[in-house]
Symmetry: C2
Subunit: 202 residues, 2 copies
Amino acid sequence: MKTVILIGANGKMGQAALTGLKNHRIITASRSGDGCDHIVDITSKSSIKGLFERVGKFDAVVNTVGYCEYASFSEMTSAQWDTTIQSKLLGQINLVKVGLDYINDGGSFTLISGILNVKPIPLAIADATTSGAIDTFVQCVAHELPRGIRINVVNPTVLEEAWGVYGEMMPGFQPVPGALVGKAFERSVDGFITGKVLFVDA
Amino acid sequence: MKTVILIGANGKMGQAALTGLKNHRIITASRSGDGCDHIVDITSKSSIKGLFERVGKFDAVVNTVGYCEYASFSEMTSAQWDTTIQSKLLGQINLVKVGLDYINDGGSFTLISGILNVKPIPLAIADATTSGAIDTFVQCVAHELPRGIRINVVNPTVLEEAWGVYGEMMPGFQPVPGALVGKAFERSVDGFITGKVLFVDA
């Protein structure tokens, strides 16, 4: 049994991840903190540091959040780009950067991207660009992590559980059950792979 | 003959691009402006806008610059990430965003990334991550560009002409002649392809 910090635990992706983490002790966190053990805002390094300080020892960080702004490229403002980069890109990078000071030997980080970097759709250029950045970051930074620490990223298509929200903007996409995405989180946390992009698509 | 704005014209990558643009009218620009027609700082949207206002009509933008900070992941500061993102990622995105208001119908943008997102080396995590972001951005945003406007990115390995500077940090890499990289810029500007990552590697 590992101690796993699950960020965004109450979101649909967090719930999907949870299905793959049943054998572990789960410590939950989210931006609001509602129904979770801890509050964390991944856009703030001090908030991230505070979370790890409060938790103490842990073996894995599973992140399922990263806020993105949606607009056509011509309408996307600098502020919208910045908001997306601060959360989905730098927020996740900082989880790893700060987390390295706290995570146990042989621990793992599992980040989240999303299928729109390889299957582009209208309005999602900031989501796609930062997903591509995170997929690249994980594949490259894996070589630098010390003490047997691993890192992977789950890159899922839309969840069946979220189809009601996103389906209209994703014609021709086949949603997948959250439990299938949970398997990818499980492979990352319980396996020995590192530097991998775990696509879950149909 | 097309009117092409070449940014970073006096750098080694700019000189490489120039070898592929001999059939065109070239307007040069760089951050210092030394030996160039214009000054431009791609980290400033107003500087970019000023360049396009001064040039007037043009058919292509070829960018060969994007400043990156180099450090190990554990040593890379938030300021270093920000500097890299503001230049190599958002600087290039803004060239396209602002340029769309000025470029002729059927024009093209050619951006620059670099091979380290697919061949990682120590100290280059910010370079690699932003290269991956730009490669993704180009592949996705191509679908959104109006008026027959195209976009590609050249993703080269190290140039023979730059081997003296970078060779020591890139053991086992085979440098390529600038003129070969120039062919990729030529394919982007003179071809009909769009949304492509033009790798030049050996």
